[in-house]
Each structure stands twice: as C-alpha cells, then as structure tokens.
C-alpha cells in the first residue's frame, strides 16, 4: 500500500526464487505492461514469485475463446482481465438510445461468455476487474435517476458482476472502483495518459491495484494472514493499565477512547470471520486481563482471545510460543503494537511476521490496517486445497530469511545512548509525576510531590539522578529516576523507577552501573536496595538478586561496590555537557 511504481519495479526485478511460484496471464482492452510489472513487484512483497504472461493489447475475446491461444499455453494459475471504463464508454456512445436501458445486461452477458471460455479451456482462477465509475455529466445529477444513463448502467454492470461472481469460488473481482473511490478520480485517472498511452490508471492507482491483485492471489495460494497478535497498552486501549489503573485507561467514549473502540470493533468483526486473535503484552497477567474482565467499555472479551500471553519476556519469543500453541504458520501472523522497539525486534527476529508500522495517531489505526489488505478471504475450501503449497514455501523461507540471531544483536543495532543527569528544577514536575504514576518498575513505590523533589535537590545527604534514552527510533526522553541516600552502611536506593517502555534493552543494567558509579563518587562501599512488594510491582521482585545483590538478614539487598565490574549493556553513556546552564523553571 502506498508504494511508488519505481519501488515495485525494483522488487519486480529482485530474485524471487525463495517465493511461491505463481503464474498469471493478463488480458485487457487497454495497455497493461506497467500493470504487470507492478503486480510482479507487489507479489514479491506478498511472498509470490509472479510469472506474468502479458497478452497482446485488446485481444480479450479472441484470446480467451481459442483453446490454443498463447494465453493458455503457459497454463497460468490466474487470468486477470482488465476492461477499462473508457472503452466501455466508447461502446456506450455507439449504442442506440433505445438500447441503452439494456446496455449493462448485454455487457455482462458477453463478459460471462469470456469467463465461460476460460473455464472451458483452463483451470485458472479468474480475476476480473470491475469498472471504475465515470459520469459523463450529460444529464448532470438527473442521470442518477435515469435507467438509461451511463453512470447508472455502469453501476449496474458492477452489481451484476458481483451477483454472478458470488456463485463461482474460482472467480474473484478486483475492485478498481473502490480504489478510485478511495483515491479520487483525478488521482486515479489522467486523461492524458489514456489518450497518449491507453493507460486507464495513473501509476499511483496502478500500484494500489497491483497490490490488491497480489493480495488476492496470495490468498488463493494460502498466504493470507490468519492471526493477529495484539499489544495492549496504547494499542488496544489508551494509557498503561499497570500505571493508570482500570479507571485510568481510555477506551469507549473517554478521551482517545473512540479510536481504540473502533479498532476493537474491527478486530471483533475479523474474529467473527475466523481470524484468530491473540494478546502479547509486557504486563503481569492479572493486570493485563483486568480490563477484559471488568472494564464496561471493552468491546473484546477474554473469550475472543485464543492465546493470551502477558509477561516480561521479549515479544519475539512470546510470538513464537503463541504460534506453537495455535499451530499455525509463522507467516500467517500479524503483530500490532504501537511501540516501534517491539516491532523492530519482532521484524528482526521473526522476519515472516508482518509487523506494520502503526501511525502515531490512534485515530488512524483502523484505516491504516484496513489499507494493508492482509486478510483477503477466498472461501475455506480453497485454502484447504492449497495448504500443502504453503508449507513447502514456508520451509524455503526459513532457509533464506535473514534475521538477527539474538536479542543482543538487535540491541547492538539500535545505537542506544543514555544520559545521567542530576535532578534539576526544569525536570522536577516530570520526576514528581513519575513517582506518583509508576506502579510496575518501582522498587519502593514512594510518592513524592514537586516540593519533595526540590528538597532532594537541596539535600546534602541525598542525591537524585534521572536517566534519558535515545535510540534510532528517536528520543525517549526521561525514562527513569533514582534517589540515593547516604547512610552509615552505604548508599541506599530510596527510589528506583524505570519506564516499562524501555524494559529489557539493557537500561536496567545501565542504571545499575550508574548507581554504582554514584556510590563510588561519594566513597560508599556498599549500594543498598530494598524491594517493597505491592500488587503491581511483581516484575521487579528479583531485580536486585539478578543484578548480583545479596539479601541481608534484615531483608535489604546489598552490593559490594568495590568488586562490582559493571554489567554488560549496549547503551553508550553520553556525558551531559549542558550541565549548569539548564533553564530554570
């Protein structure tokens, strides 16, 4: 969707030997050369090695009725027929007024004749383009209530084609009229192109149409998506349930809720059609399930979710385990997550999973996902017939797929840079807010006001530092804070909070290294931590043990600063050169 002709052309030339072979013949009453290049390119993206036979110009009738015609020689699996509105209109002009009422019936009858010839001479699946609408404005709006106007007859042709096609599972309609409706006539059709080159579509329109043709063929070849794996926070609802709580998340009418409401309704429709829904969320499971169980505005319920995975493991492993559990092809899965970090991880480690780059604005989620044409249906029996094809292709893909071997390799590629800065007046409000709101990665859950934060800044014995992180996706801003207090037995971690968005990418280790450095700088021999359990911070119960702390008899954790060698992380520290000239709040 939305790709340029030049990029499709490049893909059309790419080596597609690891894709599923797919023979296609194209016949039209207009120029189809660009269309065939675009379809080949679009097919490549959808896992197909499209081998195109492009028939001679305007020979649809003669090519289809002759059993020995070159159209059938290559025994194509698909035959695409593109008949253009411009030729249809030329024919209309030659039609007597008295015959115009019956124009649509006559055109469709002939079309059926072509289809029957193909059925007789070949076992190919027919892909028939419908007619993009064109109104000659001869009668103005009055044409809409005439039976013998071109626009009414054209619409009737499209409707009749639908009726006829519904009876034949081996005939698919390609909705050029829908593409034109989405793009607008002037973007879809340029009269100059038709008049000079017999091209009824602009290159932009052609690319959209090619992608739909490729999607339909892929569906017949069994490559349609069968499962949507969903993130939860900021994907299925607005906000972070672990931090904002059940009443704080936005779904339904509240705030950005209507966007998530629309997405959930669309997913529910897909589910009713037979698409499997799964959840993959970085959360504690009971917290993640709470909205499904108790939020009155949730459209999806737990009954709609075939596999529900909520934990703190990396999402690629979780998706792999969902796949195993559901016993479906890895290439039949779509991963929907608002977080580019998670998407890139999954793309890197599971290249066959489609992980679309969701738009930032949740209001655009549904129309964006709809535009990807991932869920083409062909009827169940067709899919059963070609299932074996699919597994063969999958085996091939597994061999060729370039992917990251480990999460580490992915993390290295992220170019992560972090900064350690002392608390400052400018950031005090944000720091206070973080202590108020964070529930999950929060070791002691101490809540502070802005005034409290300012007194930490004045204090001789306490020091506060905040951490920021940048990677190739952009600047994540302030992602963590620590408040450290000098005590006789060492430097005590009064507060340690990190945003869950940056979990499991080495930021925990980076923060730990930075805290040890702080301890050294004040001459403390120990770093001392405490974990105070709450309902929501179970994810950090083991943090100190994992980082090499030893639990003392009083329950606190202790780390020997001198022996500490620094934990491995792929995050580079950026020294704060702005220190001292921060804007005063």
């Amino acid at each position: 969707m939305g790709r340029s002709f030049q990029s499709l052309k490049r893909d059309a030339k790419a080596d597609a030997s690891d894709k599923l072979p797919c023979g296609l013949a194209i016949a039209g009453d207009c120029a189809t050369q660009h269309f065939s290049v675009a379809i080949k390119g679009a097919g490549y993206q959808r896992g197909l090695d499209v081998r195109v036979f492009d028939a001679d110009y305007d020979q649809v009738q003669s090519l289809t009725c002759d059993p020995s015609s070159p159209l059938y020689e290559a025994s194509p699996e698909f035959i695409l027929i593109e008949l253009c509105t411009e030729k249809l209109y030329a024919r209309w002009l030659g039609c007597e007024w008295s015959d115009r009422k019956g124009f649509a019936d006559q055109v469709v009858q002939e079309m059926e004749g072509v289809w029957n010839s193909i059925r007789r001479n070949s076992s190919a699946i027919i892909l028939q383009c419908d007619y993009p609408e064109y109104d000659d404005r001869v009668f103005g709006e009055f044409a809409l209530k005439m039976t013998d106007s071109f626009i009414v007859q054209l619409r009737r042709i499209n409707a009749l084609m639908g009726d006829l096609a519904s009876a034949d599972p081996r005939l698919a309609l390609i909705g050029l009229s829908g593409i034109q409706a989405r793009m607008g006539r002037t973007a879809f059709h340029d009269p100059k192109l038709y008049m000079t080159a017999k091209m009824p579509m602009t290159l932009d329109a052609l690319c959209e149409a090619a992608d739909i043709v490729a999607a339909v063929m892929a569906a017949y070849k069994g490559l349609s998506k069968k499962c949507v794996v969903l993130d939860l926070d900021n994907t299925l609802w607005g906000g972070v349930v672990g931090d904002d709580g059940l009443v704080g998340i936005e779904v339904g009418e509240l705030g950005t809720g209507p966007a998530y409401d629309a997405l959930q309704h669309w997913l529910k429709e897909l589910k009713a059609r037979g698409i499997i829904l799964a959840v993959c969320s970085k959360n504690d499971e009971p917290v993640a399930k709470e909205p499904f169980e108790h939020h009155p505005d949730m459209v999806l319920s737990l009954d709609d979710i075939a596999a529900f995975v909520a934990n703190w493991e990396d999402k690629a492993s979780n998706i792999a385990s969902i796949r195993e559990r559901l016993n479906i092809g890895i290439d039949s899965m779509v991963f929907v997550d608002d977080n580019p970090f998670e998407r890139e991880l999954v793309k890197g480690m599971l290249p066959d999973v489609v992980a679309p780059d969701l738009p930032d604005d949740p209001a655009q989620y549904v129309s964006f996902l709809q535009g990807l044409d991932l869920f083409e249906a062909t009827g169940f029996s067709q899919e059963d017939l070609v299932r074996s094809d699919r597994y063969v292709a999958e085996g091939k893909r597994m061999q060729s797929a370039a992917c990251f071997d480990s999460v580490d390799e992915y993390l290295k590629s992220l170019d992560m840079r972090a900064r350690v800065s002392p608390f400052d007046a400018y950031h005090a409000p944000r720091i206070a807010q973080l202590t108020q709101r964070s529930n999950q990665f929060n070791l002691r859950t101490r809540r502070y006001t802005e005034a409290d934060i300012e007194s930490v800044m004045q204090s001789e014995s306490s020091r506060g530092v905040w951490f920021s992180l940048t990677d190739r996706f952009g600047d994540h801003g302030l992602v963590g804070i620590a408040i450290l207090e000098e005590r006789p037995d060492g430097l005590f971690v009064d507060t340690l909070i990190m945003s869950c968005r940056v979990l499991r990418r080495g930021m925990e280790e980076f923060i730990m290294n930075a805290m040890v450095e702080q301890a050294r700088s004040v001459g403390a021999s120990k770093l001392i931590g405490e974990y105070i359990p709450t309902k929501k911070n179970g994810m950090v119960a083991d943090l100190y043990s994992k980082m090499g702390f030893v639990q003392r008899s009083d329950g606190l954790f202790e780390l020997d600063v001198e022996d500490y060698t620094g934990r491995v992380t792929y995050i580079k520290e950026e020294r704060d050169d702005r220190e001292g000239n921060l804007p005063e709040a």
Binding site: F5, Q6, K9, R10, K13, Q33, H34, K192, L193, M195, T196, A197, M199, T202, L203
Partner: protein, 79 residues
C-alpha cells in the same frame, strides 16, 4: 529554480526511473542515448518529473519533446 538545480533534480529522476546512478542528462540527451528509454519508460519519466517538480506536461508534450533541453524549458516555465 536555476537551470543547474533543475538538471540536478532531473538527474535524480532519471537515475531512479532507469535504476542507474551513472546517468547524467544534458540539454542534448535524447531517448536513443539511454538504453531502456522506450515508450513505457517515457510515461514513467513524465509522471516522475511531474511529481518531482509539481507541474504538468500537456498531452502534446508527452510524446513531442525532442530532447532533455526541451523538457527543461517546459519545467522552467511551469515549476
């Protein structure tokens, strides 16, 4: 836009359409100078140039331009 800037951008368009970074066009460049420049490529070129410069060629020009120099003259007039 200066003529030089137009030629710079035009080089990029030609390189993209013909997938060849070595292409540089001059006022006297004609279709025969570039191996793949056939009638199909001509359409792609025209549309890519229209998009790049935010202008439109008219129907006569699509098939009537004799060389790149004529193309540039039209772009200069409209872009």
């Amino acid at each position: 836009m200066t003529e030089k800037e137009i030629y710079q951008k035009l080089d990029e368009v030609f390189q993209e359409v013909f997938d060849d970074d070595a292409i540089h066009v001059s006022p006297t460049t004609v279709a025969d100078d570039i191996e793949d420049w056939d009638s199909l490529a001509q359409i792609e070129l025209v549309l890519a140039i229209e998009k790049c410069f935010g202008m439109q060629f008219d129907m006569r020009e699509v098939t009537g331009m004799a060389n790149v120099g004529e193309m540039v003259a039209i772009i200069q007039e409209r872009a």
